[in-house]
Amino acid sequence: MRHVLLHARAHLRDTSRMPVYWVPALLFPLVFFGLFGYTNATSLAKIGLGSEYVITPFLLFTTLNVTIVSLSAGVAADRENPWEQRLRVLPLPALSRFAGRLLYVLGFNLVSWIPLLLLAVFTTDLQLPPSQWPIWLGAVLLGAIPFGLLGMAIGYRFPPQGAMTVANILFMLLAFLGGLFVPVKQLPAAIRDVVVFLPTHEYQHLVLAIIGRADRIAAPTWTIGVLVAWTVLFALLARLAFRRDEGVRYG
């Protein structure tokens, strides 16, 4: 665990010295919420509902952006970096390096939420009691793990430019179909029955359910279990992509 923390810290240090990376990551959710979420939050307030119903999908959207897109791009770029080769000869299992990277991404997510949460607290009617914040944000963080594994799978499978494109397409598709942009009931009927099995839909379901705000989601609670299946699948894909890359690059 010490090595996992060491590598996570090294990644965070590295990122903190690259404002061109973290400044947009902080501003993006803020701008996006200002453009598309703020009005919805006001509408909800008029019918007596807290803005956590709206903030949550934006929080997930921000998290998915960092976890799928940024992580896959970072992994793909690092595969070309001699430093990555240097790390491979350290007396350390590959799994520890992966875990370190995943931990770093989760940590970076915490930072990326700050502007959005500050905006939510000061300008919207957030009715979530402070005691529920840790489980709310904890669920967002833990629920991001399968998407981190997906990001790694893409990063190890595709070259940098390709990884960025594939990650963006998947990210947008998953976010849209998972109901992060528009409620599922507004989606075409043909896909409405399927989206409940998408990881993003159940990610949102999990986070809202854990704070008792899943009343507007039609799917039964058991479907949250789908996330476990997706986690296993993405972990297998990440392992497969890593093994393939090892074979091609170092075989």
Partner: protein
């Protein structure tokens, strides 16, 4: 002699390219220099020994185990050919990060002092000069206190001062009883540091021995003489030689039989003066051994070469 690492009939192919072909080699304490032209298989050998790659066939053993084992990795250090440092971390952070992975690392201060890194400890790696990066990379290889050190062209591109400093550090490491395997194109580096020379050509071990052994075994001599300006290359047609070079009025004849060459010069009444005969140095010996291999092809002529082949 204690064997620290060994390759047994190791072949490594990349598609249709055979990088190493049934190579058998042992590595002992002291500095072993692996020489050979680009593409000869030197870096592949280091990658196999450091566990970065797997052999296509044959067996690689390092410190009694598989080079991919964590326990073995904890006892080796490496500087890859391409300097590998995290650009946005400082030198201190890099050394500390690497050191944290080893059971008995050297103290950072010791490595810093040995390699003269004091002045740029707080600088980020990306802001260092090429020479400074090389020194930090060697520090990163040393800080784990390795028993076996792999250095892939460690001083390429360095100025003389930086190179001397690195040589001193490598010599100190070796004197401490560690095994060092280094690849280099710098013959002076091999002569200065290595107690043993391994020459790789066409993916095979072409020579393996001490510096003197390799030179003597090649058996090539240089006959250098001065001839009047305008002397025709045809003058040397009948002189026994492996290769002849003419630069102005200086002529260099590389020959396996210097006595026969000098005799022929006299008998053919070649108008020479200031003749000098000596055994060739390591560089010429390596060129002779690796002729025709890799990217730096230097033809060694057959017994009776044509004039065009012999006069360059």
């Amino acid at each position: 002699m204690e064997v620290i690492a060994r390759l047994e009939h190791v072949t490594k192919t990349f598609g249709k390219v055979v990088a190493l072909n049934a190579v058998s080699l042992t590595v002992s304490r002291g500095v072993t220099a692996v020489l050979g032209p680009n593409g000869a298989g030197k870096s592949t050998m280091i990658e196999l020994l450091s566990g970065l790659r797997h052999p296509s066939s044959g067996r690689v053993e390092v410190l009694g185990g598989d080079p991919g084992d964590i326990a073995v990795k904890a006892r080796i250090g490496i500087t890859p050919q391409r300097t590998a440092l995290p650009w946005r971390l400082t030198v201190t952070e890099t050394l500390d990060l690497i050191a944290a992975h080893y059971p008995k690392p050297l103290s950072r201060d010791e490595v810093v002092q040995r390699l003269g890194l004091e002045k740029f400890l707080k600088k980020r790696n990306g802001t260092l000069s090429g020479g400074q990066r090389r020194r930090v990379a060697l520090g990163a290889a040393l800080i784990g206190n390795p028993e076996l050190l792999f250095l892939d062209e460690p001083t390429t591109g360095l100025d003389a001062d930086s190179r001397d400093q690195l040589w001193a550090a490598i010599a100190e490491v070796s004197a401490g009883g560690r095994a060092v395997l280094l690849t280099t194109h710098d013959m002076a580096e091999a002569e200065h540091l290595a107690s043993r020379i391994v020459v790789i050509a066409d993916g095979q071990v072409a020579r393996d021995g001490s510096l003197d052994d390799v030179i003597v075994e090649v058996g090539l001599h240089l006959v250098e003489l001065e001839v009047p300006a305008g002397t025709s290359p045809l003058t040397f047609t009948t002189i026994p030689a492996e290769r002849i070079e003419q630069l102005g009025n200086r002529t260099k004849i590389y020959t396996a039989d210097p006595d026969a060459t000098v005799r022929a010069l006299v008998l053919d009444r070649v108008p020479f003066r200031g003749i000098r005969v000596e055994r060739v140095g390591l560089e010429e010996a390596i060129r002779a051994i690796t002729a025709g291999d890799g990217d730096s092809v230097v033809p060694v002529s057959p017994a009776v070469p044509s004039l065009a082949e012999r006069v360059s």
